[in-house]
């Protein structure tokens, strides 16, 4: 079984709700558990954190992420996954993923983490940080 690792994320004050939402959406398949949250600070634990780390970096490139190990905070050296799935949707109405009856799952290639930029696997369009942030802010459920 993979070891559970703990992370401390320091955020600009207005970024906390977006990051919290992104981590909650990740859910159980990625074993992400939010341990503590307050304004400008969030702690989470996970046994497979690379996807969560990528998601945080895409949504908030200025977030400072450190790993807590033996009571000490250290830099994170994980490599980001090349692809990101779920959470984001392609904003192009002319993309096959925007056709509600077709059996597609949105999938994006990570072009750049800072500045954040992902590219739709199906239509090839870029989705930049503005569009990523906009998608998260549109959901008022969290």
């Amino acid at each position: 079984m993979s070891q559970v690792r703990c992370f401390v994320v320091k955020l600009p004050p207005d970024a906390t709700p977006s990051i919290r939402r992104a981590l909650r959406i990740l859910g159980d398949p990625y074993s992400v558990k939010i341990d503590l949250e307050r304004e400008g600070m969030l702690e989470f634990s996970s046994s497979s954190p690379s996807y969560a780390l990528l998601k945080i970096s895409l949504i908030c490139p200025s977030a400072v992420i450190r790993e807590r190990k033996n009571g000490m905070e250290q830099e994170v050296s994980d490599a980001f996954p090349e692809w990101v799935e779920d959470t984001f949707v392609c904003p192009s109405k002319n993309c096959i993923t925007a056709q509600p009856k077709e059996p597609t799952k949105a999938r994006f290639k990570v072009v750049s983490v800072n500045p954040p930029k992902i590219q739709c696997y199906y239509c090839g369009r870029y989705i930049d940080q503005g569009a990523l942030a906009s998608q998260l802010s549109q959901d008022s459920g969290l």
């Binding site: 192009s92 002319n94 993309c95 096959i96 993923t97 056709q99 009856k101 077709e102 059996p103 597609t104 072009v111 590219q119 739709c120 696997y121 199906y122 239509c123 090839g124 369009r125 870029y126």
Partner: protein
């Protein structure tokens, strides 16, 4: 017959390596012998053609190619004659055609539709154009003509003129030339119709030099190929924008007199008013040969993928 492509999908021209392009063009040379007489290479094989958008050259050359190779063709050129009009999904339509045919050729206005079809179908799917993104077999035809004309594609200086933002043949050609060395592109368009950033980033990543400009004149003495595109009227959200840019670039005989010796004029066709009829009679015009090459090129592709 080269078996490297057997059973593979063709969604983007980038699905083919440089050596695979060379092999395909070599077989296209051979196929010219059978373009009228035919062979029985694909006897008892069935090609399904699904054209959800209008097509003349691509559909008819694919169908002729399959018939010349001894195979059969089913499908539709008008989606209103299919069950899609009753709300059947693309996915379900593909599942059916998958069971009837040995290869599927499809064109759709929705980007990524060919990729979805390829995920669903067990038989190869060949993209005959999806939205403004990919048109790999047009690019094969374009590259084949350049190879035939110049004996090489490396080092060519190619100007692509017109609606670069919405013309899939233009973006697809950019992807295609990235398989060759030392090609230089001149991307000439009105400012709002510039090539998509995604394509330009790919060119940079691939080491392909390109220049963007709104005017062609200063490059006429340098370029080997003038690739003209039409404004994609059907893709303008606002019809007044189409009218605004219509006629932005018209090739004239006076321009051709100032062009580099041996420069050829290509067009993916159909043309609207960007190439007047008098250009047809100049030694530079190659767009009809370009379209005619679609037959041996698609015969080669089908034979390599299905044969």
């Amino acid at each position: 017959m080269d078996e490297a492509l057997k059973g593979r999908d063709l969604i983007s021209v980038l699905d083919l390596s440089g050596s695979e392009l060379d092999a395909l063009f070599g077989i296209a040379d051979e196929m010219k012998k059978y373009a009228k007489s035919g062979t029985d290479l694909l006897k008892n094989r069935v090609l399904a053609t699904l054209f959800f958008e209008p097509s003349t050259r691509t559909r008819l050359s694919f169908e002729t190619a399959m018939i010349r190779l001894g195979g059969n063709v089913v499908g539709f050129a008008d989606p209103s004659t299919s069950r899609m009009t009753t709300g059947e999904t693309l996915a379900d339509t593909i599942r059916m055609l998958d069971s009837y045919s040995n290869v599927i050729v499809m064109r759709h206005r929705i980007e990524g539709s060919a990729r979805l079809a390829a995920e669903i179908a067990t038989v190869p799917v060949l993209n005959a154009g999806d939205g403004s993104q990919h048109h790999p077999t047009q690019t094969l035809t374009d590259l084949y003509l350049m190879r035939s004309e110049f004996g090489h594609i490396d080092q060519l200086k190619i100007a692509i003129l017109g609606d670069l933002k919405q013309t899939r043949s233009a973006s697809s050609l950019c992807f295609g030339v990235s398989r060759y060395k030392g090609v230089k592109l001149y991307l000439i368009s009105p400012e709002p119709l510039k090539m998509k950033q995604e394509v330009k980033d790919y060119l940079e990543k691939s080491g392909i030099e390109y220049i963007e400009s709104t005017t062609l004149d200063q490059y006429l003495g340098d370029i080997d190929v003038l690739y003209v595109t039409r404004l994609q009227k059907e893709r303008f959200a606002d019809p007044s924008d189409y009218e605004k840019y219509r006629g932005s670039y018209i090739v004239t005989t006076e321009m051709l007199q100032r062009a580099k010796k041996g420069m050829i004029v290509m067009h993916h066709l159909p043309r609207i008013d960007e190439i007047p009829l008098e250009i047809d009679y100049t030694p530079n015009a190659r767009y009809f040969e370009q379209a005619a090459n679609g037959l041996p090129v698609r015969m080669a592709l089908l034979s390599m993928i299905v044969g």
